[in-house]
């Protein structure tokens, strides 16, 4: 069994590696110090199981798990955590495997033999209960079978077209399957609804303009795209621009 260890603390990783080495059929293929590295390592080494710390800098374990679950062959995930009473009850109710640090060998063995793949519903439920869970730092898109991560602060807009949502960001455009409504709810501080089919990054708004037919548009910084503003959302945007 190929295993990936993810924890931002070196001693914690060393300990897990030491314990796993004593088990049969377990091979630690890589270690990662945060969620982003975990995702990269997962794509490179295709582990069967990821031991994932929850509280990590950059991208935390819950967000990493969510991106991992989009992979073609997602690994099984066991969360490790030192202490967090709120989240633990959520883990229990949703039958998600977790280990408390310092991890006991017998618990580790048990968890490995029982490890299953997580589904999105489980992850979402935990994310809601995990009080310290911050807004995700990345959006993940599948590009040619790989997971591509797009940092949220490089995104200019989301535009819904047919079944997909186009993400406009620094390096171009990419399609994702999430709905605009979910995106709006997950990033209330970063994005603003300007039209039934569009969200705009608040930090990237350059100007609100009116054309000679009386329609309003939003011009973005560092991006040629001009987005139409619907009459319904105009008052909110005006109010926001005045601030």
């Amino acid at each position: 069994m190929k295993i990936l260890i993810v924890d931002d603390e070196q001693p914690a990783r060393t300990r897990l590696r030491g314990m796993l080495q004593q088990l049969n059929d377990c091979e630690v293929v890589a270690e990662a110090a945060n969620g982003k590295q975990a995702l990269e390592a997962s794509q490179t080494y295709q582990p069967d199981l990821v031991l994932l710390d929850i509280r990590m800098p950059g991208m935390d374990g819950l967000e990493a798990a969510e991106h991992l679950s989009k992979m073609d062959a997602p690994p099984a995930i066991i969360f490790t955590t030192a202490y967090n009473d709120y989240a633990l009850s959520a883990f229990k109710t949703h039958a998600v495997d977790y280990l408390l640090k310092p991890v006991r060998k017998e618990n580790l063995l048990q968890a490995i033999s029982a490890a299953t793949r997580l589904n999105r519903a489980q992850l979402q439920a935990i994310g809601e209960a995990e009080t310290e869970h911050t807004e995700p730092t990345h959006i993940s898109a599948r590009v040619k079978g790989n997971i591509q991560l797009i940092p949220v602060n490089t995104i200019h807009f989301f535009l819904a077209e047919h079944k997909y949502v186009t993400v406009g960001y620094v390096d171009g455009e990419v399609l994702i399957e999430d709905s605009l409504l979910t995106l709006e709810q997950r990033f209330p501080r970063h994005f603003m609804r300007v039209h039934r089919n569009a969200l705009v990054a608040i930090d990237h708004i350059a100007a609100l303009e009116k054309d000679n037919q009386g329609r309003c548009h939003i011009r973005l910084k560092d991006c040629d795209k001009v987005l139409e503003v619907s009459r319904r959302h105009l008052p909110d945007i005006r109010k926001f621009m005045k601030r």
Binding site: P11, A82, Y83
Partner: protein, 358 residues
């Protein structure tokens, strides 16, 4: 080394210490007010006569008052072992005795040589003075008793508050440290041993009596022990910069006054940063006031989280400072996009204040 708030053995006695200058002064004031009342009370006396009377009455009343003070000061050690009721009755009787003695003295020294006074006049004079003295000194003793009860309530309340506010170390830190120690045992037993010793010191401090104050040097030592443990876990990610040379090491502080601020700085400042950062501790003494600032870098994505998570520890420290120093103790927060800093200020104090003189 621990310093316990100095407690006189007589803490339970309701009577204040009449040997203290302040109490003598209070008694003199009360006596003089009584003398005014006695001089004003009789009707149909010419003003000049009234002034004359006031002089005599004051002299007499002050003698009684200071005499009682002296007696109560002398018998205080003896009253200490008694219940409040016993001590109350005995001190009341002693005051009356002093009044009898002074009245007799006044009669034999002043009246007898100057005036022709009858035996009945002598008895009336004595009885009248004792009754007036009894009526005045009773409520005064009662007043001291009520005031004493009130002060003890206040003290009990503030001690209870201090204890409730006692700093607690985050469970998160405990379990992370345990995990670190578990991983160090096979490879680095010496480091593991040090970590266990440091952890023991920290928990001893957090379980100690919250009313005890410790010298700043000891608190700083605890801070270093705490940071040593965190450094094992965070490695290169945790950098420190100390600039506290001018801080008086003998200043008294409640235990774990500064450590929770460092814990916050690590939990909210260093841990969320992939590259880590530097915690800066600056301290200075100015105009007998100590100011200590703890500053940490900030991951601006988690700005909102910071405010919420920090709140508890900050409120706690602020309340402990106010409980100890009143308005002179403060905690101030300054934050911008990239850094977060907390400053605590409190008066420099290197010995316990006598609670009676506060």
């Amino acid at each position: 080394m621990r310093l316990k708030r100095s407690t006189t053995k007589c803490d339970d006695l309701f009577l204040p210490d009449f040997c203290a200058m302040r109490m003598v002064f209070v008694v003199v004031i009360i006596a003089q007010l009584a003398a005014f009342v006695l001089a004003l009370a009789p009707l149909d006396i010419p003003l000049a006569q009234r002034w004359n009377n006031l002089g005599m009455i004051s002299l007499y009343v002050q003698w009684c008052a200071l005499g009682s003070c002296t007696v109560l000061c002398i018998v205080r050690p003896w009253l200490c072992g008694m219940t409040n009721i016993q001590a109350g009755i005995i001190s009341y009787l002693l005051i009356l005795l002093v009044i009898v003695l002074i009245t007799e003295l006044a009669y034999w020294l002043i009246y007898k040589p100057g005036y022709e006074a009858s035996q009945t006049w002598h008895i009336h004079f004595l009885l009248r003075n004792v009754v007036i003295g009894a009526i005045i000194s009773g409520p005064i003793l009662r007043y001291f008793y009520v005031q004493n009860q009130w002060r003890r309530n206040i003290q009990a309340e503030s001690e209870a508050r201090l204890q409730a506010l006692q700093s607690r170390i985050r469970p998160h830190f405990l379990f992370n440290s345990m995990n670190t120690i578990a991983s160090l045992i096979p490879a680095e037993p010496q480091q593991a041993e040090d970590a266990v010793e440091n952890l023991a010191d920290l928990f001893r401090a957090s379980l100690s009596d919250a009313r005890n104050l410790i010298p700043l040097s000891e608190e700083l030592e605890l801070c270093h022990r705490y940071l040593d443990i965190e450094a094992l876990r965070l490695g290169e990610r945790l950098q420190q910069k100390w600039n506290i040379d001018t801080l008086p090491r003998d200043a008294l502080v409640p235990p774990l006054l500064i450590q929770p601020l460092l814990e916050n700085a690590i939990y909210h400042g260093i841990e969320p940063l992939t590259e880590g950062g530097t915690i800066e501790v600056t301290g200075q003494l100015e105009n007998k006031k100590i100011a200590i600032t703890i500053r940490n870098p900030l991951n601006h994505n988690s700005g909102q989280q910071i405010a919420r998570g920090n709140q508890l520890a900050h409120d706690n420290i602020r309340e402990r400072l106010t409980a100890l120093h009143g308005k002179q103790g403060s905690l101030q927060i300054e934050a911008n996009e990239h850094s977060y800093q907390v400053t605590i200020r409190f008066p420099y104090q290197n010995e316990y204040e006598d609670p009676d003189r506060r």
